[in-house]
Symmetry: C2
């Protein structure tokens, strides 16, 4: 595992990045009663292993199996009462499940574009929610192009997983709850560890942490270090998409909006090796009795290996639990 | 799955059974800060499947992986400051893990007697806690005899899993928390479903439910219907110990104290078939993203299949999560 700190950067965030605390609070209000307030879980074994106290925000227990329902409910909700013909979105899986569920709640058609190597469990859940699935290539750019075609062809509204401010504010409510739930136990978190795929989770975490204390740490697979590359280049740049078991973290390019929101706030980005992801997934199962997907295990692995450097109380966004048995079986 | 209601019985509980609400409250006070206040988890899929709302008390996330730490901490704690030479207990596994952890906290030696077909994961955890493990036969009576021998030989204090009032009051705090946590959401539970092994969980649940509303329902493996047999006979009677995957529910005889505490309160006992236990365990993994052991899955299965008969809000004691990968692998 390797890590980088972002370079100093004097320029202010652009206009587009002016999402703030108020947006997050509004998002939380609108989501109240529509998503579970998932528990924050402690585990003696993890505390011993990390040499610090880990506070696990169990969004694997969220409706739809990941924190992504938060953003999708808000973004799709914006269309309610409009004459929308339906929604379309691309995703490695969890945003797609979330959009499918949100669309079903609002009686909207939904078409979801996933990579051909998407987790079968995720594809199945989207279909169970009554949405259509289109499998396109393996690269983000191919999916984005397919979404654009569907938008032009059918007039669907696009629910972008990275560029939509509602989505980012919604995802941020998970981190905000974690900070609140720790505070209710008398604990000010020293750091918040969040997995990085396209960037919505880390951008949301930066909104949530703003002015509230915790350093925001990102965790990305060493195989797809898109945020690290973006920090180096000063803008999102495409990285070679090597294979990672963390299917949710395969985007080879960070979204522009999340990058602008997060780049000046992120304290550190840890690149997590595959064997560390596998071990954290297994430990979550056996020691914390939680079913987590590899993306969540990536954040957990970073916290287990580096947490004690960041302080005494470390929050971890356990982002989702939509895992394939074919993957988990051999790991266990 | 089959079920029986207890026969009407006019005779009062004997003196030994006069554990009451006050004992439970004292137990909760003494345990505060020593066990996790585990979350109560909701799951859309389970609600749809059961036709009612399930409130899952996730004691699989408890320290030591089951609710049994509650009773063990209290019972072993009684010996602290005495000149105890150590403790000994028999158990199918979770009480043994709990006694081992509690003894370690109090700096006491611990020897645990388990059946030779105990779950390897449970044996490992006991040894990790620094305690000695003795594997003896497969029947409860053999383990009880071994405990008696060790007591005579070494002068150890016995931490009985069924007859010790501290243990039962401690176990009851899990059900009491569940009732409180649902109430905090504005919900009065209609029923509380609890697995039955030796009887401490159901006796504790009866204490917790007393005067607070929920009907108490027991769930036992159809293969080992020890509580059903006891209700029929009016006293604990040994049943043929057929094989069940629910290793925690293998005792072939209900303890006398728990039976006396529970017999007049239990509304119904459901006998759960093996295939239902397996399905609930699998659903807990895939749909609720919780690792549960078969004993917990037994209660969950009863709630999924019968919950809607009992009302609109059904609490389930998800008793533990110490499961063997060898068992779970093929099920998943």
């Amino acid at each position: 595992m390797d890590s980088v700190a972002p370079p100093e950067s004097p320029q202010p965030a652009p206009e587009s990045a002016r999402l703030g605390r108020a947006d997050l609070d509004r998002a939380a209000e609108r989501l109240a009663g529509r998503v579970w307030r998932t528990p924050v879980i402690r585990c003696d074994h993890f505390d011993a292993l990390s040499g610090t106290r880990l506070w696990l925000k169990a969004e694997n227990l969220q409706r739809g199996g990941s924190f992504k329902l938060r953003g999708a409910l808000l973004a799709v909700g914006e269309l309610a009462g409009s004459d929308s013909r339906g929604v379309v979105a691309q995703s490695t899986g969890n945003h797609a499940i979330a959009v499918a569920l949100a669309a079903a709640e609002h009686g909207l058609r939904a078409t979801l574009v996933l990579p051909s190597d998407a987790a079968p469990a995720k594809i199945r859940r989207i279909r169970e929610a009554g949405a259509e699935v289109l499998l396109v290539g393996t690269a983000l750019a191919e999916r984005v192009a397919a979404v654009e075609q569907l938008r032009e062809l059918h007039g669907y509204d696009v629910i972008d997983p990275y560029q939509n401010p509602q989505v980012i504010a919604g995802q941020g409510t998970a981190s905000a709850e974690l900070i609140d739930q720790a505070a209710a136990e008398g604990v000010l978190l020293d750091a918040l560890v969040v997995p990085i795929g396209g960037g919505s989770a880390i951008a949301g975490a930066c909104l949530a942490a703003d002015g509230r204390g915790p350093a925001v740490v990102g965790a990305e697979p060493a195989a797809v270090p898109a945020f690290t590359a973006a920090l180096g280049a000063g803008r999102p740049v495409r990285v070679p998409a090597r294979h990672t078991m963390a299917d949710g973290l395969r985007p080879d390019l960070i979204g522009e909006l999340p990058f602008e929101l997060a780049r000046h706030t992120v304290a550190e980005v840890v690149r997590v090796e595959e064997h560390s992801i596998a071990r954290a997934l297994r430990d979550a199962f056996l020691q914390a009795r939680l079913v987590v997907e590899p993306a969540a295990a990536t954040a957990l692995a970073a916290a287990l290996e580096h947490g004690s450097r960041w302080g005494q109380d470390i929050g971890v966004l356990v982002s989702g639990g939509n895992v394939d048995l074919d993957l988990v079986g051999p790991l266990l």
